[in-house]
């Protein structure tokens, strides 16, 4: 286990994802003097200010200047620092997309981005502050690694792993407190390696971020109804774990993806690409925000409204189970 997580896992129940990354980063900063934390007037909102409180000489608040936030990060990386940049996802992935792509990814620089308030986690703030496009944008940048942690514990693991990983990493978290789905930090988090939260043979739910918890709640209900549900936490959307997807296609033949993101371009699209390239047909459904700007509301209400909370997953699984996959069970005749 890499250094960085020394507090009790129980703290994961009491801290937001952002508070946890702030703590982890600060602990990492003790031993790694190359870390330099940066933000654009969101030190408090993103919690990266915790690092600045401890290491003011290695903290840069740029003011409200996101383009230059990533440009300056690139310059710092070029002279030997490992900048960790935190701002809202909508600014990192959309306003600064070109700086992230050209200044950082193109030159494969060691810059870590922790984007908060992603998806519709800041639902009350309205569409200008929603970000249901960032996974699509970031995963299309060559060299970029995209991680969507399921809870605070996984956020801590992701930050530690990102520091051990050469090159740019985008870690996407929400705004507030996400109920933990992990009970220990020692479950073998590895970039690019999905976590099978529970096994099952009738249907596979592939999900990430806050939706992992929703999927686990849905699976519990579905199991009580007699279905065997596999739940995969695809915390790394890029590089995606192809092996676990193709195994699920063969073994369950029904796959549902669930994400807090536009259904176009995100996790669902990434999983769909793997399935299609795998050449074996399966029933497939993507849940998430439809191709629309989300309405205003509390996140939990919006997850329900767009039917990707536990209730929505249960409903979608029910519909998918009614689909005929094919008449025989012989995979050998498939191409």
């Amino acid at each position: 286990m890499a250094e960085g997580m020394t507090w009790s896992v129980l703290d994961g129940d009491k801290l937001t994802q952002a508070e946890i990354y702030g703590k982890v980063l600060t602990q990492l900063g003790e031993k790694n003097d190359k870390i330099i934390a940066m933000t654009a007037d969101l030190a408090k909102s993103t919690k990266i200010g915790a690092f600045g409180d401890k290491f003011p000489e290695r903290f840069i608040n740029m003011g409200i200047a996101e383009n230059s936030l990533f440009g300056v990060a690139a310059g710092l990386a070029m002279v030997g620092y490992t900048p960790v940049v935190s701002t809202f996802a909508v600014f990192a992935a959309l306003r600064s997309a070109e700086q992230v792509r050209t200044d950082i990814c193109y030159q494969n620089l060691d810059v870590k981005i922790i984007a908060t308030h992603a998806g519709i986690s800041f639902g009350q703030a309205g569409s200008t502050h929603h970000c249901t496009e960032d996974i699509a944008v970031m995963r299309s940048f060559a060299n970029m690694t995209v991680i969507v942690p399921a809870d605070g514990i996984e956020t801590g693991n992701a930050v530690v792993a990102a520091m051990d990983h050469a090159g740019p990493v985008y870690i996407r978290i929400g705004r507030g407190f996400e109920p933990p789905v992990n009970t220990t930090k020692d479950y073998g988090f590895q970039i690019g390696k999905a976590v099978t939260m529970k096994d099952g043979k009738d249907v596979t739910v592939i999900t990430c971020g806050v939706c992992v918890g929703q999927a686990m709640r849905a699976a519990k209900v579905l199991e009580s109804q007699g279905l065997s549900v596999r739940v995969i936490n695809m915390h790394t959307v890029k590089p995606i774990d192809r092996e676990v997807i193709l195994k699920a296609v063969v073994e369950t033949r029904r796959i549902i993806t669930v994400e807090e993101h536009n259904v176009m371009g995100g996790l669902g699209s990434a999983v769909g690409e793997v399935i299609v390239e795998g050449g074996k047909a399966c029933a497939f459904k993507k849940l998430g925000v439809p191709d629309a700007f989300a309405i205003v509301g509390y996140p939990e209400d919006l997850y329900n409204y767009y039917k990707f909370d536990a209730d929505g997953i249960i409903e979608a699984v029910g519909a998918l189970m009614k689909k005929e996959i094919e008449e025989d069970e012989n995979w050998d005749d498939e191409t």
């Binding site: 003011g63 690139a74 710092l76 193109y106």
Partner: protein, 282 residues
């Protein structure tokens, strides 16, 4: 210290060689950003042949001075300088723009020795330079960061973000230049938008501003040296230049932002350069 007559002569000679190389690359590549490459030449030659602490045989030397060519379309002219300076075999420049070549119109830091940052999308370079200069200060390193910008790219808001941040961090280890040739692709800068007064704008943002003839080696050298003495703020050297400098049929013509040359035009361009340096020395 003013440059000696011999130093000026040497720099003029190098500028002449670089300008001929620019013409040659443009000819063999089938086209290139020749106008802006010719306007920036004297700035780069002064830096690379007199002021920058660099070692072309050791392009990644840790405490080397850094160069960010924010006006990335000047990559052709920058490549000519790097080639003349010996960062790589000049013969490689015959492949400029060719499929699989390390040299595209905008230089790539991963492929071209001496290129400290890949640029080309305008308005990015000053922020990168600011990051390098902040990093140098925080690490207690003595290297200086140079950033050469186009005037047209000063329309970009990101330039002014970086200007605010550079002044806030008191980056007296950062010297930037505006290659003020007054032309952008679509015409004269002041006909398209309003950049003036660039001097007052950068001054208002907290920079030391020097303004020189960007084709006068003695004045360029003086400004670069003066910038090294300024404390607690970055310096912007606004250089009055001529797009297409030294090639009479290109001078001050926006159509020569990007262009190709046939062999007759190449020969005429060489003759213009010879004539110019016969007059000014070099």
């Amino acid at each position: 210290m003013p440059l000696t007559a011999d130093e000026v002569k040497l720099l003029q000679q190098k500028a002449k060689d670089v300008r001929k190389s620019i013409v040659d690359i443009t000819f063999t590549a089938g086209g290139g950003h020749i106008g802006g490459s010719l306007s920036q030449t004297d700035i780069l030659v002064a830096l690379y042949y007199k002021y920058m602490n660099i070692d072309p045989k050791n392009p990644k030397k840790e405490d080397r001075d850094r160069m960010i060519l924010s006006k990335g379309h000047g990559g052709l002219g920058w490549a000519a300088v790097l080639g003349e300076k010996g960062y790589f075999d000049k013969a490689l420049l015959k492949n400029f723009n060719k499929t699989g070549s390390p040299f595209g119109m905008h230089l790539d830091s991963l492929k071209v020795p001496g290129c400290d940052a890949s640029t080309g999308s305008l308005g990015h370079g000053l922020a990168i330079a600011v990051g390098m200069a902040i990093g140098a200060k925080k690490q207690g390193k003595n290297f200086r960061t140079y950033c050469v910008m186009g005037d047209g790219e000063c329309c970009e808001g990101s330039v002014w973000e970086a200007a605010i941040i550079g002044a806030f961090h008191k980056l007296d280890n950062l010297t930037a230049f505006v290659d003020r040739n007054n032309l952008m692709i679509d015409g004269r800068t002041e006909d398209i938008t309003m950049l003036e007064s660039l001097d007052e704008k950068f001054k208002a943002f907290g920079w030391e501003v020097l303004h020189v003839d960007g084709h006068d080696m003695q004045k360029l050298g003086g400004a670069i040296e003066q910038a090294q003495t300024i404390k607690n703020k970055p310096t912007m050297i606004i250089c009055d230049t001529v797009k297409g400098k030294c090639v009479d049929f290109m001078e001050d013509e926006s159509k020569w932002h990007y262009g190709g040359l046939d062999s007759d035009m190449r020969d005429k361009a060489f003759a213009c350069i010879d004539t110019y340096y016969d007059k000014v020395g070099g």
